[in-house]
Symmetry: C2
Subunit: 305 residues, 2 copies
Amino acid sequence: MARIADASLAAAVSEAGGLGIIACGGAHLDWVEEQVRKARSLTDKPIGANVMLMDPRAAEVAQLLADLKIDAVTTGAGSPVDYLPLWKEAGIKVIPVVATTAQAKRMERLGADAVVAEGTEAGGHVGELTTMALVPSVREAVSIPVIAAGGIADGRGLCAAFALGAEGVQMGTRFLTVEECTVCDPWKQKVLGAKDSDTIVTGRGTGHPVRGLKNRFARECRKRELACTNPDDLEGMYAGSLKRAVEGDMENGSVMAGQIAAVVRERGTAAQVISQVIEEAEALCNLDIESLAALNARQGRMLDD
Amino acid sequence: MARIADASLAAAVSEAGGLGIIACGGAHLDWVEEQVRKARSLTDKPIGANVMLMDPRAAEVAQLLADLKIDAVTTGAGSPVDYLPLWKEAGIKVIPVVATTAQAKRMERLGADAVVAEGTEAGGHVGELTTMALVPSVREAVSIPVIAAGGIADGRGLCAAFALGAEGVQMGTRFLTVEECTVCDPWKQKVLGAKDSDTIVTGRGTGHPVRGLKNRFARECRKRELACTNPDDLEGMYAGSLKRAVEGDMENGSVMAGQIAAVVRERGTAAQVISQVIEEAEALCNLDIESLAALNARQGRMLDD
C-alpha cells in the first residue's frame, strides 16, 4: 500500500497481534527512517516494511532497512535476489510477494523465510492467478510458510485461505477503512460503498497490471489501452496517478483496492478488525462440512425474514 | 463443458452422488435428446443440462429440455428470463451461472432455484470476479442456495468454498481427466501436465473472454488482440476453435481448462473424485484454525524430508 501504509497503521496492526507493514514504495529515505522510528515508538512488537523493487530508490531503501534492523521485509514487483544476503545478515525475515508457483520456488531457493501468495483479486499490482488456484499450488511446491493474500477481508476469507494451504494471511483492502489508516476519507468512503464489480485492472498491456476502483482515470486508461494507444502516452497517464489519489482526487487518481472491497462495510480499528476476523474464522473452523452448508443456507433464508 | 460433457460423464457424476450436467452448447437437438435418454438409461439419479444462451439453437434446446422434463438446468452466457416460466412449469430446477452479485440478485428475482457463482479462475467463458471475492458477496445478497465454481478441484477447494458461503460446488476441470469423460486423451494429458500459469484468457476485447490452456492458438489470439486486430478477423480465429480442440488439435484449438488444472494430476473415475473430495473436505473441516495452520506447516516441511 505505497503512500498509504505508514507508522500509524503498521504500529496499530502489530500492537493488535498482526505484523504491520510500512510501505516504502515511492517514499524518500528520510520518510522511511522517520516512519520506522515512529512505529517503534508506538509499539514494542515486530514491524515490517515493504520494498517495491521497481522503485528507483529500492537499493538505498534496502540498505536503510538493514541498518535499521527492521524485523521483516516483504518485496513486490521484482526479485529481491540482490538484497537477500544483506537482509539475512541483518537478521531480517524476508517474505517476497509471489504471483506464481514458479516464483515461490525461486524465492525459496534464494533463502526467503516465507512467501505471500497473492491472487489477482488483490488491489494494486496484480498477477493473473487467483488465490483459490495459487495457494494450493504454492503450498504443494515449497516448504517455507505460505501466507495467502487477495480476496481476504474477514473470517470467511481467513478460514478459506487456511483450508487452501496457507499458514497466515495478508490483508490490505480491509485495513484501508480503519481509524489508524491515514488514507484520505473519500478513498475510505469509496471502499465502503464499493460493489463487487467496482474494481478494474489497468495497465495489462504494459506488463504491470494494477487493480483499483473504477473512476474517470481507470475508464480512460482502459479506453486507451483497448484502442492500442502508444505505450508512452499510456505511461504518461499512469505517472503520478497514485499520488493524485492519495491527495484526494478520486476521479483522476489511481484509487487502488481489491475486489473484496465489496464486503467491506465498516471502519473500526485495526485491533477490532483483527479480533473480529480471528473470531469469525475460529467459529467457521469449528463447524463440520454439513454444519457449514446449513449455516450458509440459514444466512440465505435470513434475508427473506 | 460444451462438446465435452455428455451422457457418459453426467451419468457417472450423478450415479456417484453429484449432479451430472449434459452440456448442450453448440449441440444439435437430436444429440441432446439422445444424451438425455442415454444418461437416464445409465442412472436413476437426477440429471441436469447446461444451456448456452448465446447458442442460436438455445430456444429449441430450452423447449426440448422442458419436454424431456430434465431434472435441472444450468444456464450460461446470458439471461434465461425467456425460458424460466417454461422450465418452472415443467418442474425443472433452474440454476443460472452468474459472474457478479448483481446478476445473482436478478436471477433470484426471476425465480431461479439457486445460482452457480463462478469465479474467473474457471475454464471456458469467464467473468472478472474471483471465487474468493464473488461467493461471500453473492451469499450476502441472495436467499437462494449459492453453488461456488472456479478454482475447485479437491477437498481444499470444497472446504474453502463452504467457508466463503457456498452450499455446494461445481467442478469442471477436475472431471476432464476422469475415465468417464469422453474428451480426447491429448486434452486430458495437457490438463494433467499443466502448471498454474499455463492457462490464459482470450477474447477479453470481444466481451466474451474464455480461459484455456496456452497453445499456438491462444498465443496467436492474444498477440492479435494486443495489436488491436479488426474484431471481425478475431471472430474468424475464435470460430470453430473449440471444435478443433475437441477433435484433437491441441495447438490450433481452444483447449478450455481452469487455473486449478495445476493441482489436477490424476485420472480416476467420477466416483473416486467425488468421494476423495468429500473425504478431504470433511477432514479439513474437522480441524480448528490452529490445527489447520499446523497441518499446512507440516505439509511444507514434509517436502524437506
